[in-house]
């Protein structure tokens, strides 16, 4: 099965990438853009999706600075 992990910077921690993207979008002329956040995406095939949260805790995310969200996709065959 395919698991998708969305990892984003924790609320309240300075996210210079997000800010830079927001500035760049605005200066490219895109109006009405705000709250840009840049994070990481990890996608993987796993036999046992129940173990993905543990993978996140141990390796994929650093809980001090990042939040994560696991989405299990039914064999989307990425």
């Amino acid at each position: 099965m395919t698991a998708r992990v969305l990892i984003r910077p924790k609320e309240g921690i300075l996210d210079p990438s997000g800010q830079a993207v927001e500035r760049a979008l605005t200066s490219l002329g895109f109006q009405g853009v705000s709250e840009v956040k840049v994070g990481r995406l990890v996608e993987l095939e796993v036999d046992d999706p129940a173990r993905v949260p543990e993978m996140c805790e141990r390796l994929l995310a650093n809980p001090l600075i990042e939040d994560y969200e696991v989405v299990v996709l039914e064999d989307v065959a990425g």
Binding site: I13, L14, P16, S17, A20, R40, L59, L60, N62, L64, I65
Partner: protein, 226 residues
């Protein structure tokens, strides 16, 4: 007194660290796959890009067999110094508080900076005095020190902030200009500047020698009182 310098796949500054240590004591390299630290008296976790720094700086190296041994060594009170990538590894391993985030500039920065000794009463800084200013280079992309507000207060209160960037010289946006911290037990330290690249005036400065000299003095003193 013998320093052990870890070597991960992707380490870059391990030989520099080894040579820097050897100016003050014996030193040898420790392979990441070895669980045995070979009886060294102090461990240096060096700079570089362990495992390519893919995913997150230091995230993968912390799981190596040698790092498991280093954690045991640290829990038993052994002195451990993490430099740059080594600092990141020690934070990821939970041996030091906080985390290193991408520089505010989002760029790699290689620059000689002044750092001020905040606490000279540790195994890493004992040959310096509070307020001493050391000229040491930084070179990293992920060096912005972060810890939650309460943690920062605790660090300050406990004297765990050992080094701060001098006014106007913070190269990465670290909170409270923090350049180096230690754990509560004061036997594990991490810093972003590279003291191993500041041990010879010919290559820029010898101010970084303070850290290695302090560690060597610390271990000698332990041996003397043992």
């Amino acid at each position: 007194m013998t320093f052990g310098v870890l070597r991960f796949p992707g380490s870059c500054d391990e030989v520099d660290a080894l040579l820097a240590c050897r100016r003050f004591a014996d030193a040898e390299l420790i392979w990441h796959g070895d669980r045995d630290l070979g009886g060294v008296d102090a461990v240096v976790v060096p700079g570089g890009f362990s495992y390519g720094d893919y995913l997150r700086a230091g995230a993968i190296a912390r799981f190596s067999p040698a790092m498991e041994a280093v954690a045991d060594f640290a829990h038993a009170g052994g002195p451990v110094l993490g430099i740059c990538n080594g600092f990141q590894v020690l934070c990821e391993a939970g041996l030091l508080p906080g985390a290193l985030l991408p520089n505010e500039s989002l760029r790699f920065v290689c620059r000689q900076v002044d750092v001020e000794v905040v606490n000279a009463d540790t195994p890493f800084t004992r040959t310096s005095r509070p307020g001493d200013v050391l000229s040491i280079p930084v070179k990293h992309t992920t060096g912005r020190y972060y810890a939650p507000g309460v943690t920062l207060e605790e660090l300050e209160a406990n004297g765990q902030v050992l080094l701060r960037y001098a006014a106007g010289q913070n190269p990465n946006g670290s909170l409270r200009n923090i350049a180096g911290v230690c754990n509560q037990g004061r036997n594990v330290m991490g810093l972003m500047p590279h003291p191993e690249h500041a041990v010879d005036p010919l290559t820029g400065s010898a101010d970084g020698g303070v850290l290695f000299a302090s560690l060597a003095a610390h271990v000698e003193a332990l041996v003397a009182t043992a």
